[in-house]
């Protein structure tokens, strides 16, 4: 069975940013561990998360369910506009993952960066 390694880091943009670096495949067997880790850091006070997907070789729709849940954890109730999240951003997805992000329309909701410093500075 595949496992997911998730490392938690901190960086300072205009606000404190929590970086979740995921390693492994995000599928229906593993996506819950990402969701649980995100819930844990949000409960611990994280308000802005950069999700580093550079070491994710595969992400199916289960991964997007986790991302969807993460945006719900972080967003304020009032925001219901079709706009990009100021609280959750993605870093360095592989070409295959980026294609699925686009196919499912998640690029409308989430900024995607290739450079870590630029991503952190955008918060």
């Amino acid at each position: 069975m595949g496992t997911l390694n998730i490392m938690v880091g901190q960086a300072q943009g205009n606000v404190p940013v929590t970086i979740l670096r995921v390693e492994g495949d995000i599928d229906a067997a593993t996506h819950k561990s990402l969701q649980d880790k995100a819930a844990e850091v949000v409960e611990g006070g994280a308000t802005h998360i950069l999700l580093d997907l550079g070491a994710v070789n595969y992400m199916g729709s289960a991964g997007f369910r986790a991302i969807h849940a993460m945006t719900n954890m972080l967003s304020d109730e009032a925001s219901s506009e079709l706009s990009k999240s100021p609280y959750l951003k993605l870093l360095n997805p592989t070409e295959a993952v980026a294609r699925v992000i686009k196919t499912l329309g998640f690029d409308v909701y989430l900024d995607i960066y290739q450079d870590r410093d630029e991503a952190v500075g955008s918060f």
């Binding site: 595949g2 495949d25 199916g60 969807h68 506009e81 699925v100 499912l104 329309g105």
Partner: protein, 144 residues
């Protein structure tokens, strides 16, 4: 090119086997000469289809999933068979891509991806019980 090699896999219907199934697709795809981008699509659609079988077809029940993959000319055909209850994909709602994410219901993404990333996707009941999902992706095999 005539019909080439065929690859079969039969596994227990368990989420723990998803990675093994993706490895089987990678292995068979490599031997069939499938392009990297098409292989990424096939890995995704098979993972989504089998996940649906496990979660929504069998649910709490135990069962097996049988996969068959073959190439003919530039096309790859994959058949996924189960013995679960009959599945009707038309009952699955499409994801609402033009809605704010907060208001977007969960679910429906797997079937959407399967239809989007294949040239043919048929969901067929097997007489006597079970389902067969037949997926075809053309232009997948690189010319030799």
């Amino acid at each position: 090119m005539a019909k080439g090699q065929v690859f079969d896999l039969s596994v227990k219907a368990s989420l723990e086997n998803l990675q093994k199934i993706r490895q089987y697709i990678d292995h068979a795809g490599e031997l069939l000469g499938v392009s990297e981008s098409a292989l990424g699509d096939l890995r995704l659609v098979v993972d989504e289809a089998v996940t649906n079988v496990i979660l929504h077809g069998y649910g709490e029940l135990e069962g097996t999933v049988e996969l068959h993959m073959e190439g003919e000319d530039d096309a790859v055909t994959i058949r996924i068979r189960d013995r679960a209850e009959t599945f009707n994909p038309s009952q699955v709602k499409k994801p609402q891509l033009d809605t704010a994410l907060k208001d977007r219901p969960f679910g429906g993404m797997g079937i959407f991806l399967i239809k989007k990333m294949t040239d043919e996707a048929e969901f067929l009941p097997i007489p006597g019980g079970g389902n067969e999902i037949r997926l075809v992706k053309r232009g997948a095999i690189l010319p030799k």
